[in-house]
């Protein structure tokens, strides 16, 4: 933020205005909790705001905590399965919606927006009641099925935006040159959509890893995802090794976020050059 260009363009107001100082303050607000967690994770004194020396023992404790690691593993299984299914279904749906007009299309489209606007708690209870009504036993699989609903919506949303910006004649050209529809889809359309699909998947992945409500309503007795484990620990007592876990998770999701943004940015640059 401190690095400002020497020459200021004429058509822009000055950079040093109160909005800048306010934004700096708000950046501080956004990062304060993260710094606090980082601070505590290396602090030798549990449950204290004062610095009692550097330690890594919370990290070693966290990496030896089987319950947390099992929960992390469950969460990863759920997120990978849900995202894999959503990537396929969401992409197909986005392509289908862009390509066809049919009676009820508007309704179909509105249904795909529902997971984005209905509160998680409402989706969670409906899914639980539905699973109970058709007597499907709760398990890891039911969490995956429920996660696909919102992951699908996010993938489709991002892929749709990308299709809207695409050259519509590319696929036609492929068909005219003798490719069959399947070839045109795989060889022409899919590479064009890849950046959007990947960034949609990464967003869906992070959302799935973060979901507490829907998982806790659709998880069977033995399964415990990471947010569920974190929640139950937060409810009982504040544990210092949670700080270490937070830092590890934050670094991981920060990396995912940056990768996702880079892919999206590259994709856009490529599009501009075309």
């Amino acid at each position: 933020m401190a690095a400002l260009p020497e020459s200021q363009p004429i058509d822009r107001p000055k950079h040093f205005v109160w909005q800048m100082w306010f934004s700096v303050l708000m950046f501080g607000f956004m990062y304060l909790p993260i710094f606090v967690l980082g601070f505590y994770s290396f602090n030798d004194a549990p449950n204290s705001a004062t610095w009692a020396g550097f330690t890594l023992r919370w990290y070693s404790k966290f990496f030896q905590d089987d319950r947390i690691l099992n929960a992390l593993f469950d969460s990863l299984k759920v997120a990978f399965s849900a995202v894999a299914i959503s990537a396929v279904l969401g992409t197909l749906m986005a392509v289908g919606l862009a390509r066809y007009r049919f009676p009820g299309k508007r309704l179909y489209q509105n249904v795909t927006y529902l997971p984005l606007i209905i509160p998680d708690i409402a989706i969670a209870v409906s899914t639980l009641v539905f699973l109970a009504a058709v007597s499907i036993p709760l398990s890891l699989g039911t969490i995956v099925a429920a996660h696909v609903v919102f992951c699908l919506a996010y993938v489709a949303l991002i892929v749709s935006t990308r299709i809207g910006n695409l050259n519509p004649y590319l696929e036609e050209a492929a068909l005219d040159l003798g490719a069959n529809p399947f070839q045109a889809f795989i060889l022409v359309l899919l590479p064009e959509l890849a950046p959007a699909i990947i960034s949609g998947c990464l967003l869906a992945f992070v959302l799935s890893m973060d979901d507490f409500l829907i998982a806790s309503f659709t998880a069977g007795g033995g399964t415990n995802t990471l947010p569920m484990e974190i929640f139950s620990r937060l409810r009982t007592q504040v544990k210092p090794d949670m700080n270490a876990l937070s830092v590890v998770l934050m670094v991981a999701s920060g990396v995912v976020a940056i990768v996702s943004e880079t892919i999206r940015y590259r994709g856009e640059q490529k599009r501009i050059r075309h």
Partner: protein, 296 residues
Amino acid sequence: MPSAKSKDKDRTPAWLVRWLEPLVLLFPAGVWLVLLLVLPTLIIFELSFVPGIRPGDLVIPSGLGNYLRIFEPLTLLVIGRSLLFAIGTTVFCLLLGFPVAYWLGVIAPKRWQNLLLLAFVLPLWTSSLLRSYAWISILRPTGVLNSLLASVGLPSLDLLNQMPAVLIGMTYSLLPYMVLILYASLEKLDRRLLEAAADLGATPAQTFWWVTVPQVLPGLAASSLLVFINALGDFVNPELLGGPSSMTAARLIYNKFLGATPDWGMGSAMSTMLIVMVTLSIALLIKYGDRRATDL
């Protein structure tokens, strides 16, 4: 591709493609959404007419009993509190988010804009539970805030497990969304109009109210709505930061299903109510708001 022409004969018949393709593209996701979203929501709607149902009971819709219970003073208080949190969060996010989005989108050096925006929304990618947990560490009686206050000789603040903590947590969680959407619409701001207004003698305040705000009104409406509906259905922040005094609609629904005394009928009625409130606020935006606002 030289061989492509010769493949012409093996191509799938046109009529099959016409029906098969849309089916392959749209059917799987459609079925998934109908089975796991539409149908369940309808079942919840049906259940909301069953009084006092527990898991395993027979489902016989028999009246509006659950909805009448929503109008009992205690439940109304919970709904009122949820609305208050949602409105308060929206106002705070607007007040805090607008200057940031304005600086990022209009004033900040162009080549830094994307990076700064990414940096601002980066905390959004971290676990929402752990972000609330961080606020517990900050706000609790022996936490960071009170240590700081004590070190400069100020009296300590007891914010945790009170309404202010919930508002802080919700504002923190939703501020990045507000900034993202406002940024998108402020970045498209026509700067020539601002210059024209200034040339014609408008004061900065006049330019802001009569030139800037009308241009970004759709963005303002969309971002406020997004923050409002997310705050209305938020469970994590009130649950972890609010203590027993901050019961909200989402927490009540949770308790009616997974709590000590389950009452699925009542929970379903509350859940239906929540969906209706969200739908209503979106409908209001579409009806009275700018059409462009819903495109975002």
